[in-house]
């Protein structure tokens, strides 16, 4: 190795690509992982560019493509894009709300070679679900859509984002998944970035509710072994150790936004001064290997204590950078979700406090809103 060359950790081949095809969505969930400033339709990548990106992704070693959004079926070329995945041998996963044009396109998506459907369900009780999703009559559409997925023989995963507005329905989500014939259920406690960060006080459950939800899931896993696989994502604020966000920064996943910006995770834009590259200006391989955003926190060299000398540093890779910034004001800090962080007690106290108060109204996700992340304003850039 040449002494003048800065030593950068080697980039492992990526395994997954989250294709945020559009930010348009009929739902307005207050915990949406999309950024507060949503891309407009006019700026979206065209079909040919997406196809090139997918081809480059396959060449880099990507195996799974998550066709997401927004609502990915809002794009007229969703079938074409799915077909491209199939032609390239990429495993295509449609992450959908099941409303809008989703049902009409399902048969064509099946014929194009779609591998898997992940359907979001906001609640079990229709009224509650529609309040959370901010769209009337969404629930019956979702049920019809789920039935059609199963009827076609496509594997179905239900994704339920859990928060204080539906945490009493965890058992119900499990029953619903069984009833609909889903093979997988994601019981995913809200992660507090993007819109969820804005709505945190309205969403944060208390510790007893979280513990009960975990108990219910563990009992159901045992009871439904071989019938329903349940993946559980526990809420960070109550956890002992943080998650390896996106499997480690720049290690497994990348996220392409509707306009073609490539991010190491979907919230990465909340970190100021990170330079993101676009697929319209660089190849995906260059971006993955060399773009400043990807190299910034790849590996362990950037870490501070206690991460730097921690045994777990290559397990959780320091947790989530965006959360470190949001809660500690420093993207290179230990994720305060970690019990080894000096801020952990404070973060947990914050959660306990918010969960104890009457929840404020939701701030619904909207394109063109003037909502600014409180943390972005408060953070020196």
């Amino acid at each position: 190795m040449n002494a003048q060359t800065p030593i950068r950790p080697e980039a492992p081949a990526p395994v997954g690509l989250l294709a945020e095809l559009t930010h348009r969505c009929p739902l307005r969930c207050p915990y949406c992982s999309n950024p507060l400033e949503l891309d407009r339709r006019s700026g979206e990548l065209d079909t040919a560019t997406w196809q090139r990106v997918l081809t480059e992704a396959a060449g880099l070693g990507v195996l799974h493509v998550h066709l997401s959004g927004g609502e990915p079926t809002a794009r007229n070329d969703i079938v074409e894009i799915t077909k491209t995945c199939a032609d390239l041998g990429l495993y295509s996963n449609l992450i959908t709300s099941g409303v809008g044009g989703a049902l009409d396109k399902l048969q064509a998506l099946y014929d194009a070679g779609l591998d898997h459907v992940q359907l979001s369900v906001q609640g079990v009780d229709a009224q509650n679900a529609e309040k959370i999703g901010g769209l009337k009559n969404a629930q019956p559409q979702k049920m019809v859509f789920a039935a059609k997925v199963v009827e076609l023989g496509l594997p179905l995963t239900l994704n339920s984002v859990i928060h204080r507005g539906n945490i009493h329905e965890v058992e119900g989500f499990i029953d619903l998944a069984v009833k609909l014939g889903a093979k997988r259920l994601e019981v995913a406690h809200t992660q507090y970035y993007g819109w969820a960060y804005v709505n945190r006080a309205a969403l944060m459950p208390n510790k007893a509710q979280v513990d009960e939800s975990i108990r219910i899931v563990e009992a159901a896993r045992e009871r439904l072994k071989g019938q329903l696989v349940i993946d559980l994502v526990v809420p960070d604020y109550y956890a002992k150790y943080p998650k390896a966000c996106a499997g480690g920064w720049g290690r497994k996943l990348m996220n392409v936004t509707p306009q073609g910006k490539v991010l190491p995770c979907h919230a990465a834009e909340t970190i100021p001064n990170l330079e993101f590259w676009h697929v319209t200006e660089h190849s995906l391989g260059e971006i993955w290997r060399d773009s400043p955003a990807f190299t910034a926190y790849r590996g362990t060299d950037w870490m501070q204590e206690p991460c730097r000398s921690c045994d777990r540093r290559e397990k959780d890779w320091g947790g989530c950078r965006c959360q470190a910034l949001a809660l500690a004001g420093d993207a290179t800090a230990t994720d305060p979700a970690c019990s080894l962080s000096t801020l952990h007690a404070k973060v947990r106290a914050l959660a306990v406090e918010e969960a104890a108060e009457t929840p404020p109204d939701y701030v619904y996700r909207t394109i063109g809103s003037n909502i600014r992340s409180p943390l972005k304003e408060g953070t020196p850039s």
């Binding site: 070693g61 195996l63 591998d115 023989g153």
Partner: protein, 359 residues
């Protein structure tokens, strides 16, 4: 040639057999041709069938059960002797019962329900293999068209049924956790009914087969009946064991089950050698050129596989049974296929529990 005829085909003798010799010859037909010898029954009794394969058997066999009173009514209609009819009509009572909820057909429906079927689906006879229907209907035609002696002789498979029933009940209770004593109540009754019926029919045949020609016809009739039973199992084996060619209109796993059974169909049961594993839509074996290995792609996850798992999964094609896969691998690795079989079952169980493999 001695008096024991191995099969009627070999019964070249024109000599009139004594009644006891005739009985011995008839029993010999059963010893060689009764469906207890069929590979499907061996799998059934040894616990080597999957739940769906047991279901296929229960469903198809219902058609046979349901037609038995019709067959016996056809026999009855040909009897001019009231004494004979009084005896024979008991068979219809046994099967139909004296009241709703009673009788052998009802008990068979209970068995079908016990393995998960909805009653209406079974009653509809949709999904029953055409081969089953052809065979059963051939039996009804046979007793209507042939002589009364032949019709009665064709029922003599009952002589052999107590053995098969005891084997079946013991084997199924021991080997299938979804089979209970209640489910198998049908067979309890048959253990006493069949010998009674068979004794009568055997006496009739021994008394009335008074010429070498009539004796040959009686033996032919019993052979025919053995074949009616045998081909039903051939059809089941062909459709649901190997090569697994289910005709377009026949029952498919998952169909006609009550909701609870349908959702439990893929429950945490163990893989058995007779299972036909397959990768469902959304699960794909793929060579990963970038990393130089073969992986299993599944909903939102990738399974890293060792060489053994890759070798097995390459043979999982929805046609081969676990035994078949073990046999092929045994050739390659010069190992005992039955030992490999156990390892394959364990590996497939792991994948089935994660819902990425069906069988």
């Amino acid at each position: 040639m001695n008096a024991i005829f191995p099969t009627p085909d070999a019964a070249g003798s024109e000599r009139l057999l004594t009644p006891d010799e005739l009985e011995a010859a008839l029993r010999d037909i059963g010893a060689k041709r009764y469906h207890i010898l069929h590979p499907f029954h061996r799998l059934l009794h040894d616990g080597k069938l999957s739940k769906d394969q047991v279901r296929a058997w229960a469903l198809n066999r219902y058609y046979y059960q349901a037609m038995i009173p019709i067959k016996d009514a056809a026999v009855l209609a040909r009897m001019h002797d009231a004494e004979l009819r009084r005896v024979w009509r008991q068979r219809i009572v046994d099967h139909d019962g004296d009241a709703p909820g009673d009788g052998g057909i009802e008990r068979w429906l209970k068995l079908a329900e016990g393995v998960g079927f909805g009653r209406d689906y079974v009653l509809s006879t949709r999904g029953i293999l055409s081969a089953t229907k052809f065979a059963v209907e051939a039996y009804v035609h046979f007793v209507s068209e042939r002589t009364l002696l032949e019709a009665i002789a064709s029922s003599l498979t009952e002589m052999f049924s107590p053995t098969i029933i005891s084997e079946r009940v013991a084997g199924m209770l021991k080997n299938y956790d979804f089979i209970t004593k209640d489910t198998l109540a049908y067979f309890d009754k048959r253990l006493t009914q069949a010998p009674r019926d068979a004794d009568f029919a055997l006496d009739y045949v021994k008394t009335h087969a008074t010429t070498p020609e009539l004796q040959r016809r009686a033996m032919d009739a019993l052979t025919f009946k053995c074949n009616v039973l045998w081909v039903q199992l051939d059809a089941l084996y062909f459709a649901y064991v190997a090569p697994g060619m289910v005709p377009p209109d026949a029952w498919q796993p998952g169909v006609g089950l009550v909701a609870e059974a349908a959702t439990q169909a893929a429950g945490p049961r163990k893989t058995v050698p007779g299972d036909i594993p397959r990768l469902p839509r959304g699960v794909r074996l793929r060579h990963d050129e970038t990393r130089g290995k073969t992986v299993l792609l599944a909903p939102e996850r990738t399974f890293d596989l060792d060489d053994n798992a890759v070798a097995v999964l390459k043979l999982v094609d929805g046609v081969r049974t676990v035994s078949g896969i073990a046999d092929e691998l045994a050739k390659v690795y010069a190992a005992d296929p039955r030992a490999i079989e156990a390892d394959i079952c364990a590996m497939l169980d792991g994948l089935a529990d994660k819902r990425v493999l069906e069988r």
